[in-house]
């Protein structure tokens, strides 16, 4: 019976297959997820641990591309179609809110803090190769100090936004089943400030004064002290120092989050901390062109020079910022991203040290002049320049493009033309075409731009770092703190301020009688800071800590008349498409935007989603 045997054999075979498969099934679903890297994998290998540290460095702010400048009284951002511009708009119009705060960075910073906490907890126990023990004996303590600095820096970012924030210094695993462990309360401003400064103090004994060339950019002692100085300056400022608005912000257990009384000694601490950085004596103001004050200031923003820089965000070569900021016209081929506001242009003193509205300043809004202007590479003779731009602080010429200004004249062949002219697809260097998207308003940003880069020929590149701390700021910090500490300014206030001014050949203070008063000097110092640190994302925070944002950011944003009406153009009697007609109606301020700033905007709101999740969190004033 052939088929019978066959059938039995087949049955056996099939049952064997079934048996085989069921016995093997136990392990069938083990799909080696060990192929994932875990925390232990990273912290058992020094090379991967170094990667984790690099990730922390990567979180350092790069304010070079920050949009914050358009959210305060420096510039106007007119890339309407760009999400970034609409973010700036929200701040301009007061439309940001407890769940819409694009510059809040709450979760991003706490993620960075968690990464730092893990690193700090685990770095000591990371095994190192035997032959490199002596190397890591030096570097492991430094790595830990660097991570502590970076964590303190992250906390500073939170502090300037929110004031009192929860201090989290350990990295616990998150158990979705136990939410209460994740629900933390806010620490007070004083606790946050003490944490940052005590961390800086402790690590400054471990950190070296300088780093070897290949390690430039690592945290140094100066960086730690500078972070401490800036933190204490903020803490002493009116926003945080006995601000009556915040007297009632307290945790649910009654803990007061913002000190209720003004403490003058906080200014002294801030001054001492700034002085400690200055007294390190290893930094000096960048000034390689004593005969060219414009270049003396401008060049440090497009070169990699470390004489003045205390701590920097290292950046690779890039021409992104050149592309973004350059005027639009064919010789420049830029995107004209930011328009400096007229009120910002007006903040530049005359070169005689007088504010423009001061009697005797020599400022005039009518008429034109001819003369020499620095085009980034050499001096050029220019003409027909409005008297508005005559004899101003050299930093004005280094920071702003204006009508008939020059840029790499040999390459671009002609001056910048930002006034309206030409019909149709307009010929101006702005976008005054009536087409949507972009509107220039008479100025472009010039600071940071590299004359070594020719966008037309696409040759050259941009080599720059972003100075997170530079000596000029420490000078200004010291001057400000001393002025506030003293009853009336003395040489300790003038001395360092004048060093900053001296670099660009601005005359020494005091000049006017008011410069001898505390209030007068406060204005001078605040203005000096505005000009010296232009577009470096300091102003946004400064106007807050000085409590002046409700004045300066709650006002019409002004520009020039780069988009005249048909009636205006024809009333000139000139050809409406001609350059002459455009220029004839150009030098007139127009309101670009009515900006809104209310008391609640001084501090950012804790994200509503966080308050919804964590019942221990209380909200900031007014939100």
């Amino acid at each position: 019976m052939l088929h019978c045997n066959l059938m039995k054999n087949i049955t056996k075979l099939l049952l064997a297959v079934l048996l085989f498969s069921t016995t093997s099934c136990k392990k069938y679903l083990d799909v080696v997820p060990a192929e994932y890297s875990s925390e232990n994998d990273v912290y058992n290998n020094i090379n991967l641990t170094e990667q984790a540290l690099a990730r922390l460095y990567n979180a350092l702010p790069n304010e070079l591309t920050s949009p914050l400048t358009a959210a305060t009284d420096e510039t106007y951002h007119h890339w309407f179609d760009n999400g970034e511009a609409i973010d700036a708009y929200k701040y301009n119009l007061g439309a940001w809110s407890t769940n819409d705060n694009p510059y809040g960075n709450w979760s991003g910073k706490y993620q960075d803090i968690r990464r730092a906490n893990i690193f700090i907890k685990r770095i000591d126990a990371v095994p190192v190769p035997l032959d490199r023990e002596s190397y890591y004996a030096i570097w492991k303590p430094r790595y830990k100090a660097e991570a502590r600095f970076l964590r303190a820096q992250f906390y500073f970012e939170l502090f300037k936004r929110y004031g009192a924030v929860p201090l989290i210094t350990s990295s616990n695993d998150v158990d979705p089943g136990n939410l209460e462990d994740t629900q933390v309360a806010r620490n007070s401003v004083d606790e946050v400030v003490n944490f940052i400064t005590s961390e800086c103090d402790e690590i400054s004994t471990v950190l070296p004064l300088t780093q070897e060339a290949a390690q430039t950019g690592r945290v140094t002692k100066g960086a730690a002290l500078a972070l401490k100085a800036r933190t204490l300056l903020y803490a002493a400022s009116p926003l945080f120092n006995g601000n009556p608005l915040y007297a009632n912000i307290q945790n649910k257990d009654g803990k007061v989050l913002f000190s209720r009384s003004y403490d003058k000694e906080k200014w002294k601490k801030a001054a001492d901390a700034a002085k400690a950085v200055i007294d390190l004596g290893i930094y000096k103001l960048y000034a390689p062109f004593p005969d060219n004050p414009v270049q003396n200031y401008a060049a440090q923003f497009y070169t990699r020079d470390y004489t003045e820089t205390i701590f920097q965000r290292i950046l690779g070569n890039s021409t992104d910022i050149d592309g973004n900021y350059l005027p639009n016209g064919s010789p420049f081929k830029g995107n004209g991203k930011l328009t400096p506001l007229q009120q910002f242009v007006d903040a530049y003193e005359m070169k005689n040290g007088y504010p423009i509205n001061q009697t005797g300043s020599g400022y005039s809004t009518t008429g034109v002049w001819s003369g020499q202007l620095w085009d980034g590479l050499k001096f050029q003779t220019v003409s027909n320049i409005s008297n508005m731009y005559k004899d101003r602080d050299p930093r004005f010429y280094a920071s702003i493009f204006f009508q008939y200004d020059v840029w790499r004249f040999d390459a671009t062949k002609r001056p910048v033309r930002l006034a309206w002219y030409g019909a149709g697809n307009g010929i101006t260097d702005g976008w005054a075409t009536g087409k949507s998207g972009t509107n220039p308003w008479g100025y472009n940003v010039r600071k940071f731009l590299s004359p070594g880069y020719d966008r037309n020929a696409n040759s050259g590149t941009g080599t720059r770092n972003f100075p997170i701390f530079r000596l000029a700021e420490m000078y200004l910090n010291y001057a400000e703190a001393m002025n506030e500490y003293l009853d009336a300014p003395d040489q300790s206030v003038y001395q360092y301020l004048n060093l900053v001014r001296g670099r660009v050949a601005m005359p020494n203070l005091p000049i006017l009688p008011a410069d001898n008063t505390k209030g007068g000097m406060r204005n001078r110092i605040q203005n000096e800071r505005r000009i010296e640190l232009a577009f470096e994302s300091q102003r946004f925070w400064d106007v807050r800590r000085w409590l002046i944002a409700k004045t300066v950011d709650n006002a019409p944003a002004l520009g020039l008349n780069a988009r005249p009406s048909a009636a205006e153009l024809s009333s000139t009697g000139l050809d409406v498409s001609s350059e002459a007609a455009g220029v004839a109606v150009f030098y007139k301020t127009v309101t670009l935007q009515n900006r809104v700033f209310a008391d609640k905007h001084y501090l950012m709101p804790i994200p509503q989603s966080e308050i919804d999740k964590d019942p221990n969190l209380v909200q900031n004033y007014g939100w």
Partner: protein
């Protein structure tokens, strides 16, 4: 037999070698089938010889035919009371058998009613076998098996090949629209090779993965490439009773595709050829240059901006073609008309052969489909840039009875697709068409070069014709080999079945991108000689075709073993049962960029079972269960048990109704059970993982040239408690038939509670610093609804009429989501529906400045009369993002309608299908919807019905025009949420079957000619574009198809 078996083994191994082998194999299979046929004849002789016995044997000849007189090959003829003795009819239905003169012969064949005939010493016996209608129609496909319709207790619905073939489409999913109650189909593109529909069963029960499980012949597979001619049925399993056997995979419903198998009989060869004209329809219309710029002037004036360029004289030049330079300097390009053909062709042919002897049956099919694309200028280059799909389908389904108790099945299918596309993707190209206004630049420059404009969207003509092309080759092999062994020696009715399935897909995509130069033509507008202009080069390209190749493959293997049991006791107790063990693993196509984890196999393992007991065809009880798991969860949490219990009561079989003239069927069904879903969060979400070597590192050094490090960071925080998502489903259904089946109704009401939804733990505060919040099992969604289908059949003499209407409705509510209690409750998911729109509530348009002053301040941007006015939802006196929330309206339909009318008269047949969906909304947002927001084309609809200063209608269809992005208006709000309700005349088919007497003369058995129209008309409130578009304007449009075809069989 041994030899034969050997042949098969050899050929399966060879099957992996690719397409050529595939064709070779198909030939082998056909030959083997024929061989099997031949073998049986030889084989029967020894039986007859060995059947020598004491009684006097006589030779009996005869024939077996069906009721129409056609000879039936393969009919088994046995002798009653003598096991293992008998013969089989030959190809013409004839037979010869030597039996005792007093024997009784038994004629049996699958699908026919068994007949017993006493020989009574006759030498010739002719038998007519009647088809067993009940058996043919009453078997339905269920999960991992078939069931008598009478015994079905779950909710399922199916559609047959005949219906599917009525819609001439390249994608099988598109044929399902409107034909299966409870199945929502959404076709969002018409691009050749990418025009399949998304399928959803019974609405939405979860906010994670929502797609149903799709199986082809019991193996998880994709449905789109299958030729409709190869399909026997498509079934949709809806409730827990029907899907519990899919356990952890079944919660979103299951679609089963069953392919045709061979039937005993002489070879039936069927050839269908059809050719269609496809016309795009419901494409958005845009304004020409003159109209668009006239509106732009209005927009500038509305914004208080300088409009002095746009004088009437200037605008008129965009229509004036009196000077040859005008069309270049004042262009007016209708991009759609210039670049899109009004129609393209699609042709398809299918040849299949179906037949078999008593021991081997085969279905072999081959098909070719060519779908052409709509792009013009496809003959401009030496190569083709059009979107074209060539599809070749091969299938051979073979069943061989190796022994009376042992059956071999072999399914081999290969789908070869060879597609061609322009380098520019359809989505990019169609967005260029809508982003490039008519006035921007001419189609081409006078010298034929590609025109352009600085800082403007790329010229769609250039991107289409000059950017090169891609050829995509793809091969999808599916193979199943299986054995079924009856185990009567253990117990009657028990059988064992085991199958191994192997699927492999390989593709090779060649992209030949070509970079080209663009130029701006500059000339004096008064110039009459076009050669006197100059050209400014805007972008530079060398015009050479580049070469890039991407090739990859995926693999899946499945092993399964069944124990099946089916037995009737005492003619009243029918017991059937099934127990199945399976394991499968699949390797997906991954690239280096996807990482090693993506390349790990996806594995499943499980045991599933079913027991069905029916008593006296009146009471049915069924228990189904799946115990299965996947590799995606932690050890110990991988396996889940998913039971379902169901019952049916066939009231019409009760004594008191048995003789009812009115009611021929009345059946109540009910089910309750639990099913699951395992794949809705990423892989291995239970593990905490770190990412190393990433780009977020740092480089030190004086000139950023010092020591550099990649970054390492925590990338996912795991939750070791993770497990599958669970769905508890209840279903109550009723089936009834009145007037002997003239009216038939099936209706189902269902509720579903989805819990443990795999979701992100949004309740963990961000201060914890966890970058990716862990997944948890937390959400709860209630989904409920009903569906009903009513059929009316009537015959009046030669007229046959059938009407079938179906309606399904499903709605859901999120009862809990892992989210905190929001201070602004309208921002939370709780209480909302899945796919609910999120945004602001619009209150019409601002009438005037006084209206603006009297309303809460809107903080998005400057507001002028004619701008959209929003609801201050949190009552704080200002309108900003705080007022955005869920809007109570969903972006997917809630109801699905289908109506089929079928009519035959003598040789004519007509079939009409209406299909529709209601209850959903679509976002009308983005470029073009927001005129001038980003330099794009303006919808023609803007000409009428917009707000203007002359007609300040606060309820106008469009707000006032702005010359640039109007940030206030261009927010997601109910203003831009437009109804997507539609009803379509989806399909009309008219056929004529040639009289048999004519075609017999040319040796054929049947010829039918038919004409079909698809997407003939759509009634919709969304007049701007097709309401089925899921992504606003969408890309490649759907097609209106006019199709002519002929089917001939032999």
């Amino acid at each position: 037999m041994r030899k034969l078996l050997h042949d098969y083994k050899g050929s399966t191994a060879a099957g992996t070698l690719g397409f050529r082998t595939m064709c070779f194999m198909m030939i082998i299979c056909c030959c083997s089938a024929a061989l099997a046929h031949a073998n049986t004849d030889k084989k029967t002789r020894p039986y007859i010889l060995s059947a020598k016995n004491l009684r006097k044997d006589i030779e009996v000849r005869g024939s077996v035919t069906d009721t129409s007189g056609v000879g039936l090959p393969g009919v088994v003829i046995s002798v009653k009371g003598r096991n293992g003795f008998g013969t089989v009819t030959d190809v013409n239905g004839g037979y010869l058998i030597k039996v005792p003169e007093d024997a009784t012969l038994v004629y049996s064949m699958v699908g026919f009613i068994r007949q017993e005939v006493a020989v009574s010493s006759r030498g010739f016996i002719a038998v007519k076998l009647r088809q067993n209608q009940a058996m043919l129609e009453d078997v339905v496909v269920v999960g991992y098996g078939t069931q008598q319709k009478n015994n079905v207790t779950g909710a399922l619905t199916s559609v047959s090949s005949k219906e599917l073939l009525r819609t001439p489409t390249a994608s099988l999913t598109n044929s399902l629209a409107g034909r299966l109650p409870g199945l929502l189909t959404i076709q969002s593109s018409g691009e050749p090779g990418a025009d399949g529909s998304a399928l959803y069963i019974r609405g939405f029960g979860t906010y994670q993965g929502k797609s149903p499980l799709v199986l082809v012949d019991g193996i998880e597979n994709s449905i789109d490439g299958i030729d409709a001619n190869d399909v026997e049925t498509v079934s949709v399993l809806k409730d827990a009773a029907a899907t519990a056997v899919y356990g952890m995979k079944g919660a979103n419903g299951v679609v089963l595709v069953t392919t045709k198998r061979g039937k005993t009989g002489k070879p039936l060869i069927s050839l269908t050829a059809q050719t269609s004209q496809q016309r795009p329809f419901n494409m958005p219309e845009y304004l020409d240059s003159f109209d668009a710029l006239t509106l732009f002037r209005e927009a500038l004036n509305n914004d208080g901006l300088n409009a002095n360029l746009y004088t009437d004289a200037y605008l008129n030049k965009f229509r004036d073609r009196s000077n040859p330079t005008y069309q270049y300097l004042y262009p007016n390009v209708n991009w759609t008309e210039e670049l899109i053909k009004p129609s393209s062709m699609m042709s398809q042919a299918n040849l299949n052969v179906n037949g078999g002897s008593s021991t081997a049956r085969y279905f072999v099919s081959m098909a070719y489909l060519k779908q052409d694309g709509l792009y013009k200028y496809d003959d401009l280059n030496a190569y083709n840039i059009n979107a074209v799909m060539n599809k070749y389908n091969f299938r051979s389904n073979i069943d061989i009875d190796l022994l009376p108790t042992l059956k071999l099945e072999l399914n081999l299918s290969d789908i070869v697709r060879d597609r061609n596309y322009p380098t520019e993707t359809a989505s990019a190209f169609w967005s260029e068409i809508r982003n490039t206004p008519a006035y921007l630049y001419p189609l081409t420059n006078p010298n034929g070069s590609v025109s352009g404009q600085k800082d403007s969207p790329a010229n769609p003509y250039g991107r289409l014709t000059q950017f090169g092309y891609g050829r995509f080759f793809e091969n999808t092999l599916s193979s199943i080999i299986g054995f079924t062994l009856k185990l009567p020696f253990i117990t009657e009715g028990l059988s064992f079945r085991t199958r191994f399935a192997y699927d492999a897909q390989n593709f090779r995509n060649i992209t030949r991108q070509r970079n080209y130069s663009t130029y701006r033509f500059i000339t004096n507008e008064n110039e009459t000689d076009l050669s006197k202009g100059r050209y400014e080069e805007l972008t530079t390209g060398d015009g050479l075709l580049g070469f890039n190749i991407a090739a990859n493959g995926s693999r899946k293997s499945t092993f399964e073993s069944y124990l099946n049991y089916d037995r009737t006791f005492a003619q009243k107790h029918v017991v059937s049962g099934m127990l199945r063990y399976n394991q499968s693993q699949s390797f997906l196509a991954t690239t280096t960029a996807d990482g090693a984890i993506a390349a790990l196999p996806y594995k499943q393992l499980g045991i599933v079972g079913r027991v069905n007991y029916s008593f006296d065809r009146r009471y049915v009880l069924e228990f189904d269960a799946g115990y299965n798991g996947s590799e995606n969860f932690m050890k110990g949490r991988r396996m889940g048990f998913f039971p379902a219990a169901s019952a049916g009561w066939i009231i019409s079989n009760e004594q008191f109704m048995k003789d009812s003239k009115l009611v021929s069927l009345l059946k109540l069904r009910g089910s309750y059970g639990i099913v699951g879903v395992d794949n809705s969060v990423g892989r291995f979400a239970y593990l905490s993982t770190w990412q190393t070597g990433n780009g977020s590192g740092y480089r030190f050094g004086l000139a950023a040239d010092g020591d550099g490090y990649s970054g390492a960071q925590e990338s996912a925080t795991g939750n070791s408690f993770l497990t599958w998502e669970q769905s508890k489903k209840t279903n109550i259904g009723v089936d009834f038939e009145l007037f002997k089946g003239q009216i038939a109704f099936t209706g189902d009401v269902f509720t579903e509670r989805r819990s443990q939804i795999l979701t992100t733990a949004a309740i963990i505060p961000n201060v914890t610093g966890v970058q990716n919040l862990p997944a948890i099992n937390a959400g709860i969604v209630d989904n409920k609804g009903f569906e009903g289908e009513i059929t009316f059949r009537k015959r009046f003499g030669n007229h046959n009429l059938m009407l079938r209407g179906s309606y399904s409705y499903a709605t859901n509510r999120i009862q809990y989501a892992a989210e905190p209690t929001y201070a602004l409750p309208y921002r939370g998911l709780r209480g909302t529906q899945i796919n609910e729109a999120y945004g602001l509530t619009a209150l019409g348009l601002f009438k005037d400045a006084a209206d603006i002053a009297a309303s809460p301040t809107q903080q998005f941007g400057a507001v002028r009369p004619g701008d959209i006015k929003y609801l201050d939802r949190n009552g704080d006196g200002v309108i900003n993002s705080q007022d955005e929330g869920y809007l109570g309206q969903v972006t997917t339909p809630k109801s699905i309608l289908g109506l089929t009318v079928s009519y035959t008269y003598k040789n004519f047949d007509l079939n009409v299908l209406f299909q529709g969906a209601t209850g959903g909304k679509l976002w009308l947002t983005g470029t073009s919807a927001w005129a001038f927001a980003s330099n794009s084309s303006v919808l023609a609809d803007y000409m009428d019905g917009r707000w203007t200063t002359q007609n300040p209608d606060p309820n106008a269809k469009w707000p006032r025009l702005s010359s640039s992005n109007n940030v206030n208006n261009n927010q997601n709000s109910t203003f831009w949420l437009r109804s997507s309700n539609y009803v379509r005349l989806k399909n009309v088919e008219v056929g004529y079957t040639l009289p048999k007497t004519w075609i017999k003369k040319i040796g054929l058995t049947n010829i039918r000619a038919f004409a079909t129209g698809s997407n003939i008309f759509t009634w919709s409130e969304m007049k701007i574009f097709d309401p089925e578009r899921t992504n606003g304007f969408g890309d490649y449009p759907q097609m209106r198809v006019i199709n002519l075809g002929i089917n001939a069989s032999l």
